[in-house]
């Protein structure tokens, strides 16, 4: 009777909710809280991991992933199983803002996923060829 609608846990209600929340934490220096609405561990964990990774260009063609020293802390939690949202806390060393850091992280994440897609496509074509030959 008072059960929430099934789609409520997946779809964003655009009249009352915003997809992303951002608040600078006034108690701890260089830190901010983010809220990702209607997201789960799929995104939360990826974001957290990629906050810790910085992309460095070692040469023209070679890019390297390094531990990002500017991010002091990045953690997320899923506060309650009935609320599909992720809270994330980010703290930096002050050389960049938390917002910059998280924007960087999404850029790196995008690069890696694009690469993954490319590699998958190549591998699939190769596989289909080898199966076709049999």
């Amino acid at each position: 009777m008072n059960a929430p609608d099934r789609e409520e846990s997946v779809l964003l209600d655009e009249t009352t909710e915003v997809k992303v929340g951002y608040k600078v934490d006034s108690k701890i220096v260089n830190s901010a809280d983010f809220i990702f609405v209607k997201e789960d561990h799929t995104l939360g964990n990826m974001m957290r991991m990629y906050m810790r990774i910085a992309l460095a260009k070692t040469s023209k063609s070679h890019r390297k992933l390094l531990e990002d020293a500017t991010v002091r802390f990045a953690g997320y939690r899923h506060p309650h199983p009935l609320e599909t949202l992720i809270e994330m806390k980010v703290r930096t060393d002050g050389s960049v803002t938390a917002l910059d850091a998280i924007q960087n992280a999404t850029t790196n994440l995008n690069k890696e996923i694009r690469l993954l897609e490319e590699r998958f496509r190549d591998a699939r074509d190769q596989y289909n060829e080898s199966v076709g030959m049999m």
Binding site: L65, N110, I113, L116, R124
Partner: protein
Amino acid sequence: MFRVDDDAPHRLFGRHEQEFKGLDEVRVDFVPPFDEDELVAEEEKKLRVRFELRNTDPAIANALRRIMIAEVETVAVDQIGMMQNTSIIPDEVLVHRVAMVPLAVDPRHVRKGEALFFELTITCKGKPQNVYSRDLLFQPDESQTAAFPDQKEYWSKFNPRPVHSDILLAKLLPGQQIHLRAVCTVGKGQDHAKWSPVATATYRIMPKVDVNTARANGELAQAIKQACPRDVFDIEDSGALVATDPRRCTMCRECVRLDEFKGCVELYRVSDHFIFSVESVGSLPPLEIVRRAILVLKAKAVAWKRHLHSLQATS
């Protein structure tokens, strides 16, 4: 986490221990099936795919797995109108059974706002009779033909039907009758498991079996080779033990368990090497599921890049 000994299988080896690998080193490879797969019927092999993902973060591997289970769209029965059910199986149980039947319909063919109707009409005459999933027949409804007048021709190309024709739904005695109409829509596993395109989508982390050849040779090598239930080891001509196929290792630790084996073999996990195994329920080919999962993952990443870059710094 507590340690068993220093041979504990959770010892990681890879991206997080050493320096990070280059971004350009992400790799995807399809691997030949293991021999236990030979027990599987030819037909079912087509529903499986096994591939390896290397040099990336566990977060990506896990996101890919979660997306395959919960966020790749499929078509399933969403609502059922029960016109008649005089069989012994109660309405709600029958409805649930019908909803679980995987449908051979590609969600990409479904147009926006379109729903597919299936009808099951069966009256038992004479002998007791079984109702199978093949009795569910595609039957465009008036509510749909108004919005999509060409629905019948459009779908005749694709032949919408249950993936398996012989799923038992109910049993009828003479005179009993079932008449229901099922409305099928596009959905995601996130909403209900009936929309999940995979039976299983899992990954395991690549084992690494290091042999200390100085110790493991001669009779000891033979004994270790014998001890391994997965045939990971082989003996070289020199009598030394080699791990020829660490991919088969299940981390059962049989090769390090006995006292006399101490110091011969070291077990690790390669923390950036994932062996995926995906098994489709049949509505989509398994490779297609992986491809679509990657597309969903990409769309998610792009959307979040946009969301976060639209934020203004406040201080």
